[in-house]
């Protein structure tokens, strides 16, 4: 216990914090400029000077820790005089262009000058001059205004870990710049903008368009881009988002954002947004009224149900839909149309991956807190790059590295290249992670004893141990040094807690089961919290709300009759006991057993592999309904299109990758009907009673029927969201009575789960993978095609690129910037080549974001037999210079 006095007031503290923290905790404000709670201490601006009795000189409150018996005075005449003098120094150089500065009203220097009084400057020399740098698409640098608090540099170095900017030159010439001196070559998180106390770095998106005090409202909501579920503040004026920001302390992201979240909001205001319902008449989509469209869609779907049965209809949902929408969607399909042909984009990896992990460890196996990552003694990142896919989660891995934790990357994980202890990457590029994980597991088993906690799993691990490849074999096939694998294992020997992060890449593989079981085994031995990367904001919700052919809401298996009966009772309709078709099966069956599809917020014609075949299949349907915010490729083929509202225009909930349920808040009032209402209206026309007044009513129904959501209400979701395991009952597979009746996929019957493990081990020697490979690229600044409707993101990355390393480039005779034609047996696209050092050899990275040149034009697929996950293939890959 520390007792001190601040301004004569007695203050008691548990731990010795800084004077600044002690004062702020007790409601006493001490002005600061260079201090920021998220950043390393600096003590450079001297604004926080305070008088401490018995100390001769003034002290910086932000760096000096309190001591017992200390007497601090924060506003004595001496302190005020010192602060005034410091402001005078700042204003020697800081230009007084407040009338034209966007920061006016939010500027800390301005506020302090108001507080301590304007000073008649005594400095006779001129102000230092730097030209404003406007050549970057989103960030404007005005170094005349910079007060050298270095908050931006400390943010970029110490928190973002990008280290893209630095203080250049010295003395009065000091200024902050990226390496290039002009345009930034950075991750465009914009977190520097959040911490700049003055107008030295500003966003270009809203420059000169408003004054901060003219903002009509600020709405805290959840980001629409990925599964981290960052809290955003939407600053709104005239029913349009003017700025997206986040403050220290906000949400799981603690005020940090990535480029997509911060600069990607413009799609909401895109003129290309769909505004009215459309009905296809004589081969053309024409405007229709809501009544017409809803009536027509319901009528046609019921007709098809009547003639072909419910099984002739299918539904596909995307990962940006809310829990309430997905719940109504699957309810409408199951209870209204009698079909279990329901699946989503989570099929591409998250769902099958999670299912296997939950089979081993129980429901919620991958529900862990992102904030715990830096506290792990080691972090393993496998095959996927969290710094690109879930950028703010990636920051936690970098934080772990900075805290001296061991960070091990397996596979190509570019975003951690300066933050890893060991890099286990195959020379031949992605695809050898299975082998590397197996090699590491073998070495770990040699040095780390099993605990006996999970006998079933340990039996399987011991059985498999005999067949695991030795490090020499891994070296031979994948080019990862055997000594490096052993050294990594040795380094992990003493680790008692760890985190493992893996993504879709591991699951969309013919070795999916092996991969996930290896991951589970590594997780078990290393006592890991496992995180599954989720590329969409509500991919987890798709799983929890029953948007899959064999699971009811609450992830209850459809085949268990007691579960089914409960839902039948609640919905007042029978549920087909047969599991439905999965995502790709529905597409393959289009025109055959599937006659109609309802697509909710997804673009299968663009976002699925073998695009040519998918489009052909969709063309064979009798009836296609699409609900979306843009005229996607799928929508263009639809018979009925419903214009959806986007994430800033509706209420609802998203469940992030931690299984945290968070509220989405309506910030803008836009013309149109909420998505849930469209679904409820169609459902009503199909005979489902819908007594919902708002999303809260839907949530209440979810809480009534879904055991994991039992006892929750929409109103009870506060800031910070609801954390798993909520209040309800998770399934523990090994303890549930239905386990014997389970299919092999989640069975725990002897040999059921672990049997295939042994079989899935090593059939034959590890294979080296040679030759050019196509890799699905996932750019940091784009997300599906949605982000291509955001001007700022397009300014940063405006078109498709084929990325390859310079060595491969020269082998193929391709130079940076060359136009190339890439073809496979599936099709061909033309795009620009980009040579980047650090990429694996013989790998060609192409993303699926840009219309006309998406990677899924090139990828074919093969279904993984157990999960029916499409595994990407690229036969006859060729690259030519155009």
């Amino acid at each position: 216990m520390v007792t001190l006095s601040i301004n004569g007031r007695k203050v008691e503290l548990e731990a010795p914090v800084t004077i600044l923290e002690a004062a702020r905790k007790n409601g006493i404000d001490i002005p600061t400029l260079c201090h920021h709670p998220a950043l390393e201490l600096w003590g450079g601006c001297r604004m926080c000077l305070v008088e401490v009795e018995k100390m001769p000189r003034l002290q910086t409150a932000c760096t000096v820790r309190v001591a017992d018996g200390m007497a601090v005075h924060t506003e004595t005449p001496r302190v005020v005089a010192a602060r005034k003098a410091i402001l005078e120094f700042f204003l020697i150089n800081h230009p007084l262009e407040c009338p034209t500065c966007d920061k006016a009203g939010l500027c800390a220097l301005q506020d302090l000058t108001v507080k301590y009084g304007a000073v008649a400057g005594r400095f006779e020399e001129g102000k230092r001059v730097f030209p404003e740098v406007v050549d970057d698409p989103v960030i404007v640098r005005n170094m005349k205004r910079c007060i050298m608090c270095t908050r931006c540099v400390r943010m970029c170095d110490g928190v973002q870990g990008a280290s893209a900017i630095g203080v250049i030159d010295r003395g009065a010439g000091s200024h902050i710049e990226p390496f290039s001196g002009g345009r930034y070559n950075c991750e465009y998180c914009g977190n520097c903008l959040t911490v700049c106390p003055v107008g030295a770095v500003m966003s270009k998106l809203h420059r000169y368009t408003y004054r901060p005090w003219q903002m009509e409202k600020t709405v805290k909501t959840i980001c629409s881009f990925c599964g981290v579920g960052c809290t955003l503040r939407l600053e709104v004026r005239d029913e349009s988002i003017k700025r997206v920001s986040a403050e220290y302390g906000d949400g799981v992201n603690n005020g940090l954002l990535c480029g997509r979240g911060r600069f990607g909001y413009e799609y909401a205001d895109s003129p290309e947004r769909l505004k009215t319902p459309l009905i296809k008449r004589d081969g053309r989509l024409e405007r229709a009224t809501w009544d017409e469209a809803l009536g027509y869609a319901a009528e046609r779907l019921l007709e098809i149900k009547k003639s072909g049965g419910g099984a002739a209809i299918g539904g596909i949902a995307g990962g940006r839909t809310t829990n309430e929408e997905i719940y109504l969607f699957q309810k409408f399909l199951r209870a209204g149309l009698g079909t279990n042909n329901i699946d989503s984009i989570a099929r591409l990896g998250l769902l099958p991956a999670q299912k296997i992990l939950e089979g081993v460890f129980g429901q919620g196996a991958a529900a862990n807190l992102i904030s715990g990552i830096p506290h792990s003694e080691a972090v393993l990142v496998v095959a996927s790059d969290p710094t690109k896919l879930n950028p703010v989660m990636g920051l936690e891995v970098r934080a772990a590295a900075r805290a001296g934790r061991k960070v091990i990357t397996i596979g190509h994980v570019d975003g951690l290249k300066r933050h890893r202890t060991h890099r286990l990457e195959a020379k031949t590029g992605p695809g050898q992670e299975t082998l590397i994980m197996a090699g590491l597991l073998g070495e770990l088993l040699k040095v780390k004893p099993l605990t006996g906690e999970n006998p079933g799993l340990e039996d399987a691990i011991r059985q498999w141990e005999k067949t695991l490849p030795g490090p020499d074999e891994v070296e031979k096939a994948a080019g990862v040094a055997a000594s490096l694998i052993s050294a990594t294992a040795a380094d992990l020997k003493e680790v008692s807690t760890s985190s493992i992060i893996a993504g879709r890449e591991l699951a969309s593989s013919m070795d999916m089961r092996t991969n996930m079981l290896l991951l589970a085994a590594l997780g078990y031995i290393l006592n890991s919290r496992i995180f599954l990367i989720s590329e969409h904001p509500n991919e987890q919700g798709l799983i929890e709300m029953g948007c899959s052919p064999d699971m009811l809401p609450g992830e209850r298996p459809l085949e268990v009759s007691t579960f089914r009966e409960k839902y039948e009772q609640a919905w007042g309709a029978g549920i087909n006991p047969e599991a439905g078709l999965t995502l790709m099966e529905m597409i393959e069956q289009a025109g055959a057993s599937i006659k109609a599809l309802y697509v909710l917020g997804e673009d299968p014609a663009f976002n699925l592999p073998a695009r040519g075949r998918v489009k052909e299949a969709l063309g064979r349907l009798d009836f296609l309904v699409v609900q979306d915010i843009f005229m996607t490729e799928t929508a263009a083929m639809a018979d009925v299109v419903f214009p959806a509202l986007c994430w800033s225009e509706k209420d609802g909930t998203y469940t992030n990758l931690e299984k945290r349920i968070q509220k989405l808040k309506k910030a803008l009032v836009k013309e149109g009907i909420e998505d849930w209402r469209i679904l409820a209206e169609i459902g009503k026309r199909a005979g489902l009673p819908a007594r919902y007044r708002n999303v809260s009513d839907i949530f209440r129904e979810i809480a009534q029927v879904s055991p994991i959501h039992a006892g929750l209400s929409f109103e009870s979701i506060e800031e910070g969201g609801l954390l798993w395991p909520y209040k309800g009952k998770p399934l523990v597979y090994s303890a549930t009575p239905y386990s014997a009746a389970q299919s092999s996929s989640v069975s725990t019957a002897a040999g059921g789960l672990y049997g295939p493990w042994a079989e899935a081990a090593w059939s034959g020697a590890p294979q080296a993978q040679n030759g050019l490979k196509l890799v699905l690229d996932k750019p940091l600044l784009h997300s599906d095609t949605l982000s291509t409707h955001s001007g700022a993101l397009m300014d940063l990355m405006g078109g498709p690129e084929a990325r390859l390393c310079p060595e491969t480039g020269s082998k193929l005779g391709i130079a940076d910037g060359d136009a190339v034609k890439v073809s496979t047996e599936q099709g061909h696209i033309s795009l620009k080549a980009r040579l980047e050092s650090g990429l694996p050899e013989d790998a060609l990275f192409i993303s699926n974001n840009f219309r006309g040149a998406g990677a899924f034009e090139l990828f074919g697929y093969q279904l993984e037999p157990e999960s029916k996950t499409p595994v990407l293939t690229a036969q006859n890959l060729k690259v030519e210079r155009l």
Partner: protein, 159 residues
């Protein structure tokens, strides 16, 4: 990043030896920048980027460090870098007169390179040889007790 045991040839090959002498790559930054400057004469953006990549350090950090110290040249220089101290001790002992000599003889002005590309002149704030001023550095050689005659004599040994 270079793997252990890898043989590096070509530009900046010497960095591998330097790296071995320091506990972290960051600690090797200053010596690496000196080595790069010796090799290329000055630190271009390309040179800084190469050092950053060799040391697995952020480019911005490398540039920030290089731009802070006056010993590192951010622009192309003559064949020999002449650094004359004009701080108090040297100035009292006549350093300013030496500047005039250099200007007259070689057309050298502070911050500039002589028209023949032979010398560049940098005015320094103390090079730590106050007891023997006026003093100067030519490349990495220290010359002290300079006079108008001696400075010419010394510089003429640099081609």
């Amino acid at each position: 990043m270079s793997e252990p045991g890898m043989v590096v040839e070509g530009p900046l090959a010497g960095l591998e030896e330097i790296k071995k002498q320091y506990p972290t790559e960051r600690a090797a930054l200053m010596p690496a920048l000196h080595a790069a400057q010796r090799e290329f004469g000055w630190l271009s953006h390309e040179a800084l980027a190469a050092v950053a990549s060799r040391l697995n350090l952020p480019e911005a950090t490398v540039r920030s460090t290089a731009s802070f110290y006056s010993m590192f040249q951010g622009k192309s220089t003559g064949r020999h870098a002449v650094r004359i101290c004009t701080n108090v001790a040297c100035m009292v002992l006549g350093a300013e007169g030496l500047l005039a000599v250099l200007n007259g003889l070689y057309g050298l002005a502070p911050g500039q390179t002589s028209p023949d590309g032979r010398f560049s002149l940098e005015v320094m704030e103390c090079i730590g040889a106050c007891d023997k001023g006026p003093s100067m550095l030519v490349n990495e050689d220290l010359h002290t007790d300079l006079s108008a005659e001696k400075i010419i004599e010394v510089l003429e040994t640099y081609e």
